[in-house]
């Protein structure tokens, strides 16, 4: 390293600062500088890719951790008290002793923090050492390095199924259509140049709007959007490898920026707990005031100075007023135990234990994705037991995004096929078996399919078509098999061309496209699925007769190309063996459906789509452009060139209202009567589908003339290359060409509505537009009032923001605990707004999971999570906290009442050490164990009788406990120990060996420690003389008799109270516990009976009378896809979303 002047160093640092903060980031490839020392590197200002999420370093752990801990008010309070103890006039204990509790507590906390930090360190290290490939100019190839070696400006190669190490600008993929982003579901197209790497010399971009330009050596600039950025943490799929240029590394990557710091939510219980602590403080204040006044009066009453009044060291005696003033502080120190110092750390320990059990629950483990439940917010477990309102995203969350092609309406004709549904199920079953053969990976959600038991003979159909379907979806998430085949048999003969349309369509973009008309939230699990197709072909451009005349193949092909291009499907070798990977399940559903009809998508590259017709002929469509989905247009289109007619054809796919609106003009003006009828029919079908709760999509097509296309193309190119306002321009061009479309068809998908319980009560259905009004400030109250009286409330077509505002309004107006479940990026707002946010991993990427407090892999896990773990966590923690207060109040009362007998002089009759140990060691383990392991009711009962959940929703267990001991005797400590432990044993609901060991252990510990202490410590603790006290006591029979009677007297009232309450007016929980004791057979019998009594069970389907029909007037601004279900229920059973359908079978 050469010598650098300090000035230069400063200059360099400043420059680096500027470079990092500049809006526009200019990056130069590292390659020409390879091997040079650091200060010559052009990108030296930007941080490397090594990440560090640890909070502490080895060296500064103690100061930093102390600093952190003192952020907690309680700690400051206790330290303050300890310091107060050093003031001679007010001290109650030995000053050093007073420091012990706080030190122990802080050490425990520090240990816990250190352990957590160590875990983070390990995970960082593992991540930083993950191998990756970096291009080296010298070696002329990609060298294997570690993630931490990646620097901004490097070229990195990522192999298929590997994780992207940093934010990369995608330059090249092995497959030209390569698409990555399994984790974040966006298509990534290699922008810029697909050729070689080093062509790129500078790359500027702003992460804000995600605009990038790449400057070629010839100074030509090429724009690239956010869609060309591979984000750290994504997995590369569908391509052998991808090469990218590192734009952001390490902590500057998007995923790291989004993940700063742990989430700290305060649970309801904790908020209440804080209130109670404040109450304790007030109580403490009055106790101290009492002591102070008492001392004053006591002093006043003395006629002269008695010999036991000790003056200060100068022989001066304070006036009664002054000494009672001092006494106030002494009392605070003395009675500080009232504020449970170890409560906070105990709660944290308990929560760690609870989370341990939570994550280890085998029922919350999903085989398919090999994932357990993840707890992201570790401190709100008990809130799970208090949820009153559940908000669920419907799309994908309830349905798990499993989509099956059900019916369609083509040219105003609907093809309903009830029997197809029957066949379908069989297909699925048989298919599952096949999957086993073809898939290495476990199939997620296969079990779901078995629910449609109505299908029988799909097998034949399958053979008939000669194409076997394996609908396995690679990877974890999108295991959707769309088989629409049955219908075809019926329909296809007559309307072949139409049928072909279905199979062809691959829905390219996001699932967002699909969610459409959603009317009934409540679906029956046993609802029949029907498949029908209808297509409406608009007369002007592409009318039915034409289709009919033409060979069906051609039509089919066209559509195929239409939809396929955007798709991310990757054909495997043969058509029999095709395996599709789609961005969203709907796309996959369409492709598989198409295949079922014989139109097989063989290949999809950015430029072409290859489709095999039933005749065996392969057709290649040239893809001219793809207009991707965005939420403003709510549709996507693809421009292809028909291989036969050589026409430019634009096909669009989108939400019904988005599409129907576009059709509006031509319909109105120049439709012939026939076409008008088609439109009306289609609309009618849409409504019908909506009533059935199917998802709909509309397809349109438009033939674009040569001239039109060319002029548009010029605009388009300009827009794409633009740096500023690129998106706006691109969108404009999209809109420009997407006008005057013609309606091709309407498709329906059915989703699995497995998780929804149906009730007969009124439900409220509201769409986004109405919701905007309903949520306006003057209507809010009435909306909430109305919603409260509904069994459930359904919001459809709402934006993510509206979702969260619904949650917020309900939360604020009704003051209830809310829970939001979602799986997609559009649910993030909602998840964050609710008290508890639950993300479902796997289906639509990780955004929801990232934002959530708990991440589960299946919706059905929510049931056990809430009903069992929620209940347990809540009752355990609540009982433990009550117990803690009880313990401390009881103990403080001993000290407090003793003051009446010692002239309010702040004397303790218990040795300080023992007093401190009492709280810290003798009585702390049992309640913690109680908080972690107690189990009031077995999970079978909790799941079988969900009504029990309501006990947590109110105040439930967390109410004040009565203090029932006041006794006075020499072995007070022993007696109170027995009392406190025995009291706990009244509360313990389930005794296991662990309980026994810990309780007995505590008693033994107490005696051993006390005996040892009193036997060995002659003068070690100057002012108090515990020497031989206990030993002597234990030789005295009176000691035991005293302990016995006091304990019995102290506990008798509580015991009797419990008994009487349980006998005369048992609480629901108590009854459930009775139930618990029955043998399993009787128990399940009982639960069944109970269910039928309650009208639970498998409810008959009830359809909504007036489903909202899709309207053409829906404004474009509405987000089409997101449907929020806010499940708002009144006084009835509030948890019905998750209650039924998955009745667990008891283990016999």
């Amino acid at each position: 390293m050469t010598w650098w002047s300090p000035l230069a160093l400063v200059r360099d640092a400043l420059r680096g600062q500027r470079a990092r903060e500049k809006d526009l980031r200019n990056l130069v490839s590292n390659l020409p500088y390879e091997g040079l020392e650091k200060r010559k590197q052009p990108n030296r200002y930007f941080p490397g890719n090594a990440i560090k999420t640890t909070k502490y370093t080895l060296l500064f752990f103690i100061p930093v951790n102390l600093f952190e801990q003192f952020h907690r008010l309680a700690n400051i309070y206790f330290v303050g008290l300890a310091i107060l103890n050093f003031v001679p006039v007010v001290n109650a204990f030995q000053p050093e002793i007073a420091l012990i509790p706080i030190c122990v507590i802080m050490c425990l906390t520090a240990l816990k923090d250190a352990w957590e930090d160590f875990r983070r360190y390990q995970s960082d290290r593992k991540l930083n050492n993950t191998p990756c490939f970096i291009y080296s100019r010298r070696a002329k190839k990609f060298m294997e390095r570690r993630w931490r070696d990646v620097r901004v400006g490097d070229f990195v190669k990522v192999i298929s199924n590997e994780i992207v190490p940093a934010d990369l600008l995608l330059l090249h993929t092995s497959d030209r259509n390569g698409i990555t982003g399994a984790v974040i579901h966006y298509n990534r197209f290699p922008r810029a140049l697909t050729a070689g790497l080093p062509v790129l010399s500078s790359c500027g971009g702003r992460i804000a709007n995600g605009a990038y330009t790449v400057e070629k050596p010839d100074k030509e600039k090429v724009g690239a959007g956010i869609e060309s950025l591979l984000l750290r943490g994504c997995t590369v799929r569908n391509t052998d490898h991808a090469v990218g240029f590192v734009v952001y590394a390490g902590h500057e990557t998007k995923s790291m920026l989004n993940n700063n710091g742990p989430r700290y939510k305060r649970s309801k219980l904790e908020r209440k707990l804080n209130k109670d602590v404040i109450f304790c403080v007030i109580l403490l204040f009055f106790m101290c005031l009492n002591g102070s006044l008492g001392h004053f009066l006591w002093l006043q009453a003395l006629p002269t100075v008695p010999p036991y009044l000790v003056p200060d060291s100068n022989g001066h005696l304070d006036s009664p007023g002054l000494s009672s003033f001092y006494m106030f502080f002494t009392m605070i120190i003395l009675l500080q135990v009232l504020i449970p110092i170890s409560l906070y750390v105990s709660i944290e320990l308990v929560k760690i234990g609870q989370i341990f059990f939570l994550t280890n629950d085998i029922d919350l483990y999903d085989e398919a994705t090999d994932s357990r439940i993840q707890c992201k917010a570790l401190n709100i477990t008990e809130d799970l037991g208090q949820i009153e309102y559940i908000f669920s995203d419907k799309t994908g969350t309830l349905t798990e995004n499993k989509m099956v092609f059900r019916r369609c309406s083509i040219m105003g004709t609907e093809y309903p096929h009830k029997e197809n549904a029957v066949r379908l199920a069989v297909l699925e079953e048989s298919e599952t078996e096949e999957d086993v053969l073809f898939n290495k990976r476990p199939q997620p959600g296969k079990t779901r399919w078995s629910l449609d038991t109505e299908d029988t003979n799909f097998e034949d159909r399958q053979h008939q078509h000669g194409s076997r379907r394996k609908c396995k979806v690679a990877g974890n998430a999108q295991s959707n098999v769309a088989f629409s085949s049955p219908l075809i048999s019926g329909v296809s003969h007559s309307l072949q061309s139409n049928n072909q349309m279905d199979p062809l369509s691959n829905m390219p973009k996001k699932s967002g496209y699909f969610s459409n008309i959603f009317t009934s939230w409540q679906r029956k699990p046993n609802r029949n699925r029907t498949i029908s197709e209808d297509s409406v072909v608009e007369g002007d451009i592409f009318n039915l007769p034409v289709i009919m005349e033409e060979p069906g193949d051609i039509n089919g092909l066209r559509r195929c190309s239409l939809y396929a291009p955007t798709n991310s499907d990757q054909p495997a070798t043969t058509s029999d063996n095709l395996r599709y990977e789609a961005e969203s399940p709907d796309e996959a559903a369409l492709v598989y459906a198409a295949k079922a009809y014989g139109f097989t998508l063989l290949a999809r590259t950015p430029d072409s789509v290859t489709v095999r017709l039933p005749s065996g002929e392969d057709l290649v469509f040239e893809v001219l452009d793809t207009l991707t989905f965005d939420s403003f247009r709510k549709r996507m289109s693809i421009l292809v060139r028909d291989p036969i007619t050589k026409n430019y054809v634009l096909y669009s796919k989108g939400a019904d209202y988005a599409i129907m609106e576009l059709l509006g003009t031509p319909y109105a003006e120049n439709l012939r009567g026939n076409q008008k009828k088609i439109a009306a029919d289609t609309q009618h079908h849409l409504d019908c589908y909506a009533k059935d709760g199917l998802r709909t999509l509309c397809f349109t097509k438009k033939v674009v003339s040569d001239r039109e296309y060319k002029s548009w193309f010029v605009n388009r190119q300009r827009a794409l290359a633009a740096i500023e306002n690129r998106e706006q321009l691109v969108m404009d061009t999209s809109v420009q060409i997407e006008t005057n479309l013609c309606l091709l068809e309407v498709r329906r998908y059915n989703e699995d509505p497995r998780n929804v319980d149906t009730t007969q009560d009124i439900s409220l259905v509201i769409d986004g537009l109405t919701l905007t009004m309903a949520l306006s400030s003057d209507l809010q109250d009435r909306f909430v009032e109305l919603a409260k009286n509904c069994r459930s409330v359904l919001c459809c077509r709402v934006t993510p923001l509206q979702k969260s505002s619904v949650v917020k309004v309900v939360r604020e107006k009704l003051k209830v605990m809310t829970l939001a479940v979602g799986d997609g990026a559009n649910d993030v707002n909602m998840i964050q707004a609710a008290d508890i946010g639950i993300g479902i991993s796997g289906q639509e990427g990780m955004q929801a999971v990232m934002a959530s407090d708990f991440a589960i892999s299946r919706f059905k896990h929510l049931k056990k999570l809430l009903l069992v773990h929620g209940h347990w966590c809540y009752t355990r923690l609540a009982n433990m906290i009550i117990y803690f207060f009880y313990k401390n109040v009881a103990y403080v009362n001993l000290l407090f009442w003793y003051q009446f007998f010692c002239g309010f002089s702040g004397t303790t009759m218990i040795d300080y050490w023992l007093m401190i140990f009492f709280n810290l060691f003798f009585t702390s383990a049992p309640p913690i164990m109680f908080g972690i392991m107690d189990r009031d009711i077995s999970e079978e009962i909790l799941l079988g009788v969900p009504e029990l959940y309501r006990t947590g929703q109110g105040e439930g267990a967390y109410q004040g406990s009565d203090i029932d001991i006041f006794s006075f005797g020499t072995p007070l400590n022993t007696i109170s120990l027995f009392n406190i432990l025995l009291h706990l044993s009244i509360e313990i609901k389930a005794w296991t060996a662990v309980h026994l060991i810990i309780i007995v252990g505590s008693v033994v510990l107490f005696f051993v420690v006390t005996l040892a202490y009193s036997a060995t410590c002659v003068t070690c603790n100057p002012p108090s003389n515990p020497y031989w006290v206990l030993s002597r006591q234990m030789a005295d029979p009176m000691f035991y008799l005293l302990c016995l009677i006091t304990t019995v007297v102290a506990l008798l009232p509580r015991y009797t109270f419990h008994v009487l309450r349980n006998s005369i007016a048992p609480s629901p929980l108590m009854q459930a516990r009775h139930l618990n004791r029955l043998d399993p057979l009787t128990r399940s019998e009982w639960i069944k009976e109970w269910r039928s009594l309650r009208g639970g069970g498998q409810v008959k389907s009830s359809r909504l009378s007036t489903p909202p029909s899709p309207t053409l007037e829906t404004p474009v601004g509405m987000y089409p896809q997101s449907l929020t279900e806010s499940d708002i229920m009144g006084d009835e059973f509030t948890l019905n979303v998750i209650s039924e359908n998955h009745q667990r079978h008891l283990h016999l």
Binding site: T53, D117, T1056
Partner: protein, 389 residues
Amino acid sequence: MMASSYNAKDEDGHITVTGPGGGTLRSKKPENTAFKQQRLPAWQPILTAGTVLPAFFIIGLIFIPIGIGLYVTSNNIKEFEVDYTGVDMSSPCFNCSQNFSWNSTTPCTCTIPFFLEQPYESNVFMYYGLSNFYQNHRRYVKSRDDSQLNGDMTSLKEPSKECEPYAYHDNKPIAPCGAIANSMFNDTLELFYNDPNGTKVQIPLTNIGIAWWTDKHVKFKNPGAGEANQNLTAVFQGTTKPLNWRRPVYELDAAANNDGFINEDFIVWMRTAALPTFRKLYRIIKSPSNGMMPTMPRGNYTLEVVYITTMSKNLGQNLFNQLNPDYPVRSFEGRKRMILSTISWMGGKNPFLGIAYITVGSVCFFLGVVLLIIHHKCGNRNNSADISN
């Protein structure tokens, strides 16, 4: 502050899940063990009338006999108490406590006659009782130096700060230091038996064995204990007596094994009482060795209280100006008593404990009956009840 929620771990997760050839990697499936699945076998008692009935009856059946036993035992213990404070004009001690001149060199003695209704057998314990004396006052309790009392030479010369302001006097360390020692009870009590034949027999009082054995032999030690020919006077050279004491600590008793810090009267006093009204063992009246006679037969007795002149050197605002003819209790409106008591296995007389046992036992029994009725009436409801209230 607890969660480590950056998702490095998530990323890990994906590495393992989606890694090439996925599925061969270690599964994250939780272990299906009874502990982790929270299915440990458990005993789940439910407190209802039916289940606790036996417990109540058993408690009742056990407690009542214990209580009766205690009560009877307690009743068999004989106890006699006489107040000799001398606040009343009629009291024999009134003169001594009021009129005794501070510069008189002769001790003032008051004689209190009393009559024992019953003979006291076996060893009789003689206590002095003080009331309203807050030996448990926080600062008083602390005002001692245990290591000094344990014979530590350093502490003898430099008493602990806790002893202030009774640590030094005239620049000499006080031994024993502290307020407790300074306020040691110093009335001398003597008992005489008035024989029916008119003679007045002094009852021998033992002052050995009144302190805890461990206190006398472990906790309290004279400085230099263990050395041969220890001379207490020499050992305590350079220290001064507590202000209120008449004699230095090494002149508390003539017997060498009861002198200095190991004087049992002193040890007993140093064990501070828990309550403001307390009694402390003063002497033991051993039963005659032949055992034929009661230790104290029924009859007339005389208690003689010898007041020793002390100048209360309470360091309050009125230092050295208070005249205290006797052990000063009037400054806090205290009372002084002499108690004679026999003892049993349960210690002194304590009728309360027996009554408590009997009461609790009866209550339990009664509750048991009530529960029996309740159980009969409501017991069958449980299984059919509606949980949803």
